[in-house]
Symmetry: C2
Subunit: 176 residues, 2 copies
């Protein structure tokens, strides 16, 4: 967690660079201490994401491939799409992704959270989720939910997510 | 469960009536055996619902009141809105409601399921949920989810919903 703290307490004033303006969406820039002086980690809500690049990211964590036509539709109809990028000079690499469905009023559900394994265990997944939560909260969404695989329950717990509060159970439908 | 079977195995051919055409949405008509010969139970996906009538229904099950402005927004931005009506001659009464958020591609989450307590324990909630599931499935949504209060977990289980499949946990975010 030392890295995490360093990441966010370091100087974040140097926000405007030529790389950042390549994004159409709102961009939160973190200090470049993540890797080297020339490297920056950037979050974006721009949903104009290269689907092949996203598929490559999902391949890295072993997800089953999904039809890109449907992935495109899901991104279009998500309330929030968050991507995380490593920017090195003029190059940028997609290293994280998450999206949320919502009724735009009360509830949001976060889906498809993925971080490039080569960038895991540095607090970046946590940073991306905090960014996601902050975006949902600023849209006045009070109920943020998700369905967590067993191995990431503790990760989400540390972010303030609770399992089965007041006995509420997450349920999935399967045909009889 | 006897009533339920009767409801669905009885003659459902008499579909077109003047009451049904009052709905703009798609309507599934069940046989009038629910109460009397002149009574019919109708499902609709029309989202043009009187918000005061919906509030009255939610009052009946003791839900905390919510700003109608936000309820309106949530209905507008839901992927699917299902209402259940009792139709007696020219009168119709809202007796059930459910809605779902979705990415229009993979996932849907069902929220705000309510049935008028005076109409409960007759299989109508089950019928409304089956209608909801059918609508989501016909839209090619493969993953139907919900968050169930403890007292309705068995109700959803009987409809084919599973709690925590493969250890997946429903989680809710709360501020630190």
């Amino acid at each position: 967690m030392v890295f995490w703290k360093k990441l966010f307490t370091a100087n974040t004033e140097n926000v405007a660079t030529s790389e950042a303006t390549e994004f159409n969406g709102e961009v939160l820039k973190l200090n470049g201490s993540a890797t080297t002086a020339e490297t920056e980690i950037v979050f974006s809500t721009d949903r104009d994401i290269d689907l092949y690049e996203l598929e490559e990211l999902c391949d890295l964590v072993g997800w089953a491939r999904r039809p890109l036509r449907k992935v495109k539709k899901a991104i279009q109809h998500s309330f929030l799409v968050v991507s995380m990028w490593e920017i090195k000079g003029k190059r940028r690499r997609l290293i994280g992704f998450a999206r949320a469905t919502s009724d735009h009023a009360f509830n949001a559900t976060i889906w498809d959270v993925v971080v490039d394994p080569r960038y895991q265990n540095r607090g970046l997944g946590k940073a991306m989720m905090k960014y996601t939560i902050q975006k949902l909260r600023s849209a006045d969404i009070s109920n943020i939910t998700l369905f967590a695989d067993p191995q990431v329950v503790d990760f989400y717990r540390r972010l303030g997510f609770m399992v089965d509060p007041e006995g509420i159970k997450g349920m999935f439908w399967y045909p009889d």
